[in-house]
């Protein structure tokens, strides 16, 4: 029932304060199903804070974060859900969740939002394959009868484990790490670790994948591979991606929609070409006030 172009994530009036510091100020934007939405902005603009709010690691000071599974018609129940005080509702295959009400692990488990981290967070002492199996924890937990069937080695658990290994093998093939499956994750080179983290996030069966600077520290060739991988995730699996990225070659090439933050405030929102030529965005990146943009731009040859 997923229709590309329907709204998947709706961020409304998101505000996050740390004491007196306002990291994100009244931010509203939407991410659409099957699209790649990029969140960009200079250092310290509050991008990672937005991510942490969406994935439940922070509880926002204010605002509503709605996420829809399946048919977008369910959005009509958003206000009723908000008033009911519940975390989410499901109607058959369709569901609507309020992410700001959920603890971090439920955001992944129920609302199916997966994330990666700016500084890679793999399980370095576990093998590549084990990393991908940990990501399928909740499905395997049910299959193992919350450990009880697993202890007695019932065949139903073995089948489930076999299926999860096949899924991990599939993802390892996709990210080109199948030959390293039995090596410890901490032994992989940096670029491989980035791809493994994405594969691990994908093993949680997300509807929305949040990537925090996936191209950081990658060389141009690895960056191009990453572009292909992200595009194929969007196209083949219909999974929407929310992306924080500084590497403009990645952002401009693959994203369908760009949101620009500066000092916690949204300064631009639209298609990559529109954002690229927005004087406010240029000003923010160059660190000059709006009326001096043309002058500074001319000086540096923009």
């Amino acid at each position: 029932m997923t229709i590309a172009g329907d709204i998947l994530l709706r961020v409304e009036h998101l505000t996050m304060r740390f004491g007196g510091l306002v990291a994100v100020d009244d931010l509203s934007f939407e991410a659409r199903q099957g699209e790649i939405t990029a969140l960009i902005g200079p250092n310290g603009a509050g991008k990672t804070t937005v991510f942490n709010c969406i994935t439940g690691f922070y509880k926002p000071s204010e605002g509503r974060l709605g996420l829809c599974h399946g048919d977008a018609a369910i959005w009509s129940e958003l206000d009723a859900l908000t008033d009911s005080g519940k975390r989410g509702i499901t109607r058959g295959d369709n569901g609507l969740y309020l992410l700001e009400r959920m603890p971090d692990y439920l955001v992944t488990q129920n609302a199916r939002v997966a994330r990666t981290f700016q500084n890679i967070r793999l399980f370095p002492g576990m093998t590549v394959l084990e990393n991908l199996l940990v990501a399928q924890h909740n499905a395997l937990m049910v299959a193992s009868g919350y450990t009880l069937f697993g202890i007695f080695g019932l065949p139903s658990y073995h089948r489930a484990e076999h299926a999860s290994i096949e899924k991990a093998r599939d993802w390892l093939n996709r990210v080109g790490l199948i030959h390293r499956a039995d090596d410890p994750a901490g032994d992989l080179p940096y670029g491989d670790q980035r791809r493994l983290e994405i594969a691990r996030a994908m093993c949680t069966d997300p509807v929305l994948l949040c990537l925090d600077e996936p191209a950081a520290g990658l060389n141009p060739r690895e960056s191009a591979q990453l572009n292909e991988l992200l595009k194929s995730i969007g196209n083949e699996h219909g999974i929407s991606i929310l992306l924080i990225e500084h590497d403009m070659s990645v952002v401009m090439e693959i994203s369908d929609h760009v949101v620009v933050l500066d000092y916690g405030i949204k300064i631009s929102d639209g298609a990559p070409d529109v954002v690229r030529n927005d004087p406010k965005v240029i000003a923010a990146y160059l660190g000059v006030p709006d009326h001096e943009v043309e002058k500074v731009g001319a000086e540096i040859g923009l």
Partner: protein, 456 residues
């Protein structure tokens, strides 16, 4: 050639200087400790006595040992370091690895038979009881704590509290209500597990040192409650006359319906001891089996993932609260089993058996063995508990050091010494690699420097 000789000479000078410094240090340290001794004279007054010969001989031993280190041990260690590391494991090593565990399991199963054959019924009692049962209790406790510390990476300094809960649960329920051992064994496990989860709740938010302090405090709380709640626990006096486990209803006594009479054997206390030996062996195997199984289940992998990176776990939808509680509960359950066995074996328990030193010993076994390694923990338990027991047997040392020498008094000293040596040579424990829980082509051991030690 001449350069080598020059090096050699410089080494000699440096070695002599090191030896001199070490000797001086030893003299300074041992002068008040060994050189002087207070003795009570006939009028009950304290007098200062000196022990110069002993002091000087010990200082001389230290100096000579330092010289020996410089000339013999250090070059040897250097050579080992320079030796190229073999990339392929030799054949004997792989077959050793394959056969070691089955051999050990076989050995512990036939151990009582070997001992009886070697020493007869009278002598076997001590060897089966002090060495067999005592060590196996600690192996089991080590494996239990290994779940919490080694797998989940939660530093627990109060593990003995759950052992105490198991022991008192069995002692009180068996004495007051007359329940049998086989009913109370799982019940003691459940109770300990309950206390483990109860402790788990407040400490979930804590990490590292803070967690260690709170678990330490919890261990003390349990012990002090046992000391002070005299109405129930009988305080320091402890509980005696705890019913012994029977052989499926047949008691081990000299009566006509006793074990020996039923099977037409001559009465001997060894039968009970052998029965207890196999009982604790079965319990230890159960612990090992469950732990090995759990490691390959999602919950075990989640424990290890928790040790590696808690935030990443949460980002993958793992409920870290439940995961930590299951680790605490599971570890506590095995301590409860061991505790109820301990009470049944001793027939007497008091809070003295559940001091912090016990927690420290169990933790030392886990750390020495290599956190997360089953075999390592078992070897460490044998070395630590068996080692201290064997000190009682070293009567021949009296021939060297004189009649007044009591080797058991030096137990802790040697213990600490051995620990320092192992921590210098193998800082991450005896078995310092992690076996992966699942593999596609071949299991490759994970080098320990990649494995995190946990932070909470």
């Amino acid at each position: 050639m001449s350069e080598g000789a020059a090096n050699q000479r410089i080494d000699t000078v440096a070695a002599l200087r090191d030896a001199a410094i070490t000797t001086l240090l030893a003299f300074g340290l041992f002068l008040p400790l060994i050189g002087f001794q207070t003795v009570t004279n006939i009028r009950n007054e304290l007098e200062l006595d000196t022990r110069w010969p002993l002091l000087f001989s010990i200082v001389a031993v230290v100096g000579v040992a330092r010289l020996a280190y410089s000339f013999l041990l250090a070059p040897w260690l250097e050579r080992i370091k320079q030796r190229p590391v073999a990339t392929t494991t030799p054949a004997w090593r792989t077959s050793f690895g394959k056969w070691f565990v089955p051999f050990c399991i076989g050995f512990v199963i036939v151990y009582p038979v070997i001992i009886i054959a070697a020493t007869g019924y009278g002598g076997a009692l001590k060897w089966v009881d002090n060495f067999g049962i005592q060590i196996l209790i600690y192996v089991m406790l080590g494996w239990g704590l290994n779940i919490v510390v080694g797998l989940a990476g939660l530093l627990d300094l109060g593990y003995v509290a759950f052992y105490a809960v198991g022991a008192y649960a069995y002692a009180l329920l068996a004495k007051e209500f007359g329940f049998s051992f086989w009913i109370l064994l799982p019940l003691a496990g459940v109770m300990s597990s309950f206390w483990g989860i109860l402790l788990g709740f407040p400490v979930l938010r804590l990490r590292g040192d803070y967690l260690a302090i709170v678990t330490l405090a919890f261990g003390e709380i349990i012990r002090i409650v046992l000391v002070n709640w005299v109405d129930v626990t009988n305080g320091y006096a402890g509980i005696s006359g705890i019913p012994r486990p029977s052989f499926f209803g047949i008691p081990f006594n000299a009566n006509d319906d006793g074990f020996a009479a039923t099977f037409g054997l001559e009465f001997s206390p060894i039968y009970r001891t052998i029965f207890l030996y196999y009982l604790i062996l079965a319990l230890a195997f159960l612990t090992a089996f469950v732990t090995v199984r759990l490691r390959r289940l999602p919950v075990g992998r989640a424990w290890e993932a928790l040790r590696e990176d808690e935030i990443a776990c949460r980002s993958l939808g793992i409920n870290t609260t439940h995961t930590k509680l299951t680790a605490f509960g599971m570890g506590a359950m095995f301590a409860g089993f061991a505790g109820s066995f301990f009470a049944a074996r001793q027939g007497f328990i008091s809070p003295e058996s559940f001091t912090f030193l016990e927690s420290a010993t169990i933790l030392a076994i886990v750390v020495l063995g290599g956190m997360g390694s089953q075999i390592g923990v078992a070897i460490a338990a044998i070395a630590m508990i068996g080692g201290t027991e064997i000190m009682r047997e070293l009567e021949f040392l009296k021939a060297i050091f004189g009649e007044s020498f009591d080797p058991t008094q030096y137990r802790m000293l040697l213990f600490g010494f051995a620990m320092v040596i192992i921590m210098v040579l193998r800082p991450r424990g005896l078995i310092s690699h992690r076996a992966p829980s699942v593999f596609l082509k071949e299991p490759k051991p994970v080098p320990v420097d990649l494995v995190k030690q946990g932070h909470g």
